[in-house]
Symmetry: C2
Subunit: 481 residues, 2 copies
Amino acid sequence: MVIQTLTSETYPPDVDDAERKRLIEVIKDWAVANGLTVRPPPSLLAAEADPDGVLATNVPVTLFPSPFPRVCFQQAKAVQKAYNELYAKNLSLGLFRSDYMVHKDTTDSSSIPIVKQVEFNTIASSFGGLSSQTCSLHRFLSDTEYPYLKQPGGHARFDLPSNHSIKGLAGGMKAAFEAYGKSDLGLETCVIFLVQGGERNVFDQRHLEYALRSSTSPRIPVFRLPYSEILQRTRISDTPKRQLLYRLPSNPDKEFEVAVIYMRSGYDPSDYPDASAWEARYHLERSGAIKCPTVLTQLAGAKKVQQVLATPKLDPNSPSELSRFVPEDTQAWKDLWATFTNIYPMDDSEPGLEARKLALDPEQCKRYVLKPQREGGGNNCYKTSIPPFLKNLPATHWKSYILMELITPPPVSNIILRNGKLEQGGVICELGVYGTCVWDQGTGNVLHNEEAGYLLRTKGDQSEEGGVAAGFGCMDSCNLV
Amino acid sequence: MVIQTLTSETYPPDVDDAERKRLIEVIKDWAVANGLTVRPPPSLLAAEADPDGVLATNVPVTLFPSPFPRVCFQQAKAVQKAYNELYAKNLSLGLFRSDYMVHKDTTDSSSIPIVKQVEFNTIASSFGGLSSQTCSLHRFLSDTEYPYLKQPGGHARFDLPSNHSIKGLAGGMKAAFEAYGKSDLGLETCVIFLVQGGERNVFDQRHLEYALRSSTSPRIPVFRLPYSEILQRTRISDTPKRQLLYRLPSNPDKEFEVAVIYMRSGYDPSDYPDASAWEARYHLERSGAIKCPTVLTQLAGAKKVQQVLATPKLDPNSPSELSRFVPEDTQAWKDLWATFTNIYPMDDSEPGLEARKLALDPEQCKRYVLKPQREGGGNNCYKTSIPPFLKNLPATHWKSYILMELITPPPVSNIILRNGKLEQGGVICELGVYGTCVWDQGTGNVLHNEEAGYLLRTKGDQSEEGGVAAGFGCMDSCNLV
């Protein structure tokens, strides 16, 4: 039943040229009026055409919320607090996002779809600012536009869950800000957003800042600090608490004590061009500020950790790696375990040797993806590309990869508005669930642990010529089915 | 006391290059994230650089809210309902804006400043959508940025009145929508925004639409109709009620009955390029839709009407023209009268002959401005330009102008961000107060009469070389002093 709806021929609704024109106008204006925006990409406008950086454009977005199985949505939301605790570290703030795809056993048509984890993000989990706005856009369209399309049905078919990702993520930062407490030095405390230079996705970040700034008790000063200016703008006080102190570039007499440092940079190799960039990261790490994330929490987001937790047990009676952190007879353990797809090491352990066989087999390899220890996509090796890739790689390097069983989402079709043009075709939807956690390992107390809204990112499934541009995602929201 | 503050050397605060850079960044991002935006003007981006019309930019705006005398602000707000009733017409919707400048008697330093009316707008009173957002921007800056400027003081000096112009104007439209009632034809009723083609100020209008759309009881469908498509998209039912019927261009099977037609076009000569444009206006006027405004209400906004109401009495014992509409012994009469500056006809009546003497006198003319019957500025003739202008104009045409005593606002200085660049210098602030009115002349009932927020528009005072660009206004808000 669920699958029939997911793959229905009538979704998205047939829309003719006049309807497309109208939806484009409505979406373009709504997005700019409500900050569902980015600074224009070079493909849309050459940088020299806007020397003062004053132009903006709507983000790429689907014309309709994509159908998404309700059971999967509920499953992913329900497991988030267990994930938060699993990854939480000593008095640090986690703003996490656990990414999933819907998995449907293709060999059993009566099977219920479930979500399987793609990855767990522990640093710079982005799009929480734009995701709330995208849900609001699709809700606006379902109230005002979809009911008047020629194709009948419309309104009743849209079941759009609420999404509090902006408030949720800001709430996590506020909890950390409060946990830090007042300054012993008599300074005002603040939150630093550590950003990349020339960030085009600035409005996504600004929405979180504005939500945080809207707190009146306490008032929370927020400042954006480019990663490259860490050592210039901050110093660590020569005290046991090693407070991180920040001076306003626009008014250096004004010094703040940094309660929370929220990193929207520091995860990509290009963020570390030289030794001083590494020194800057060490400088932050040794400071008393609450890091979001700490180096340890950032590393916990590596694929290798995901693999260690998720590797199938060869002996059913041996304890799982996961049980070192979550007792095996608990609901949390079962919920977490259910989201794992099979992931193998590529080392010379017993499961590793098994994985090498699967990866090199010309038939078996079609069910797998090989991933390095990097954030985001673009570095992965799929299916039949795996054997030749491995053969060109010294075997001593194989262990830096993990082998992950592919998730097989049910087919979904949608229309995407990107740079003023429509693209239509098969799409793949990835659900991210945000979680916020403040944890004091010293006392063992979880000070704050919340599920914090969701993201639906959609990209072309590369199944058709002239369909949705491959490799470029867009914002989407869930239409529960 | 008030004047000392208004002209204080320390306002706006001294801001150095680092502070300017920071304020520009903060304002640019906040404006786009919150829809304080326009489609880019040709001076910023050639139209061909954005063929799909997907780019937007922040509106020109002051870095600080301009100082504005509290007594004047209160005076202008208090008189708005009296103005609404003065201009209200039979079951029509008025979305009015009464524009003022602060007048300070330059010959008496102890005199209290008062507001004097510049004009009364009865059609397409714009900027209500962006004005609320501008107030929010300045409030955000006063919470987050001004307190950290080098120049001390800051926070305590900002007294920013709330501004509900978006909700207020949408509330007026909703009241008219409800007054129209259900369709006798069994159709859904709707509101039409009648717009100009290629409108750059579209987000100002969209904010009003979204506020109207946010009503759930009743739900209010809103559609934008270009003026040039009136006759193509609408027809009048052949019934005594002459309902105006509108078909969706994107789905012509779907027909709505138009309850309210809100004109954001139809006021400029360029809106009437040919006979069919006049026919279209007549078509709307004879329909049963509630017009905002009717032709009569639009004409009531002419300078000539303002002059007739405001012409000083030559005989103190004769009744004023205003007393034909508002009894002379009422508070409303006194409040309205207090906002009038001296305005004279230029015809051959007794006051007209007096005015001609003033206008042609090389000394007296310096206190006056000569205005034709047009909306907006750009067509006026000031001070010593008046005598030569009149001498080149056939005397038979003089009566189409009115002669208005100049209002002398106290000097104010501010900084304006426009197209990514700052301009600093003397400015002139014009306060607009919005009013909404639904009036049934048949029953004599005022169904709705509300003061609906405010606008502060600021432009250069042309007093300095290299100061604020002349002729171009920007958005501002009031800092009450």
